[in-house]
């Protein structure tokens, strides 16, 4: 199978029903309503149940994928789970637990990918390469990174931004969108401490460092990706920029000189699940060329394009 034949064949998603009321939380932090709506942009991030594990989120997303795919999901060569908040202490890897819960055959390999917001896009490159290397045909790329496990509800820098969620994406040779031929990925390890979990297992974020990183690096990554794929901004009819916050997305759009794009206010930043959850709401027949860019933890970024196969 030629590398360029692989693509996204179906997407399943899962958002827990329980929601955090960010308007009430914003008042607690003395954020104005305007700041919440125009800068943070997230109104009701989802919160998983306390007994719901990362692998459970994946299984829920898989159930939705089965409905979306409308077909048997047997003969899967690989499952990969993008997460930095795994089940238990991370050993065994969460993908192995998902493998167990889905009763997958031994011929299906499983591994985790330790990345944050860039994880879905980077995961496409990894899965595509794996399938080509083993002569495989189908894989499922899961994303599930429930930050509620590490969030401090009293931390004004992070408490309103992140929500729980998961996605399950079927990668196969009969896709709706083909994965772009070229990716642009990078890491600025010097800034790795800007978004981290500390020794007390609490998430902390240097908002200004993350903002600077995104504003300075993502627009140029987008430009390089388009050039490498033989495209211009005018060729793109769908933009999916990781919804870190509304302000970051607006800033990147302004710097790219493209119209501002909609922001998923209803559930916000679900880390690596953000991009597939947005893609799930898009139509490959209408959004035929889609630029996707994930950026955050690392600090790192990963960008590519999807092109309709129809």
């Amino acid at each position: 199978m030629a590398l360029d034949e692989f693509g996204i064949a179906a997407i399943g998603g899962y958002l827990p029903d329980a929601r955090q009321d960010n308007r009430a939380a914003a008042r607690r932090f003395d954020f104005t309503e305007e700041f919440l709506e125009t800068k943070i942009g997230v109104l009701a991030p989802a919160r998983k149940a306390s007994d719901e594990e990362t692998s459970d989120l994946c299984v829920r997303a898989f159930a939705d994928l089965e409905r979306a795919a409308g077909a048997d999901l047997g003969n899967i060569d690989l499952i990969a789970v993008v997460t930095q908040n795994p089940d238990g202490h991370g050993l065994p890897h969460t993908s192995a637990i998902v493998h167990q819960k889905l009763k997958l055959p031994k011929t299906c390999f499983a591994f985790d990918i330790s990345l944050g917001c860039s994880g879905f896009v980077a995961g496409l490159a990894i899965v595509k390469g794996y399938l080509a290397a083993i002569g495989g045909r189908r894989a499922i790329l899961f994303t599930a990174d429930p930050y509620s496990k590490v969030q401090d509800p009293d931390d004004r820098n992070t408490a309103l931004i992140f929500g729980d969620g998961a996605a399950a994406v079927l990668i196969a040779e009969t896709p709706h969108w083909r994965i772009g031929a070229a990716f642009d990925c990078g890491t600025d390890g010097q800034r790795s401490s800007a978004l981290r979990v500390d020794a007390e297992s609490r998430l902390s974020m240097n908002g200004r460092a993350v903002f600077d990183f995104c504003a300075l690096n993502v627009p140029s990554s987008v430009e390089r990706t388009l050039t490498a794929n033989g495209l211009t901004k005018q060729d793109v009819d769908g933009w999916v920029l990781h919804p870190g916050s509304k302000y970051i997305v607006d800033t990147i759009c302004d710097r790219l000189k493209i119209p501002r794009i909609s922001f998923p206010a209803a559930y916000g930043n679900t880390v690596s699940s953000s991009i597939p959850l947005i893609l799930k709401g898009m139509d490959p027949l209408r959004q035929r060329t889609v630029l996707i860019s994930g950026f955050g933890v690392g600090l790192g970024w990963a960008t590519t394009v999807l092109r309709s196969a129809a």
């Binding site: 700041f35 800068k39 908002g207 200004r208 460092a209 903002f211 600077d212 504003a215 300075l216 800033t251």
Partner: protein, 76 residues
């Protein structure tokens, strides 16, 4: 070198429909109506135009005068 006017121009770029010239030079930028993300945009703008690296902790850079003074010291 960053002038007072450079900072006001950066503020105007960071915040639409905001009269940057009305901010007293010693006024606290937060009190003047710029939130933390607006202030981050101002410093990023000035960094890109001058190459000056502003510190991660910007709590001291809370007025136009403080930003100009930091920039002058950084370039000295």
């Amino acid at each position: 070198m960053i002038s007072e006017q450079d900072v006001r121009v950066a503020i105007a770029r960071a915040r639409e429909n905001f009269d940057a010239n009305a901010i007293p030079i010693d006024a606290d930028l937060g009190d003047a109506g710029l939130d933390s993300l607006d202030q981050a945009s101002v410093l990023l703008d000035l960094h890109e135009s001058t190459g000056i690296e502003f510190p991660e902790d910007t709590s001291e850079l809370n007025s136009i005068r403080a930003i100009v003074a930091f920039a002058q010291a950084a370039k000295a």
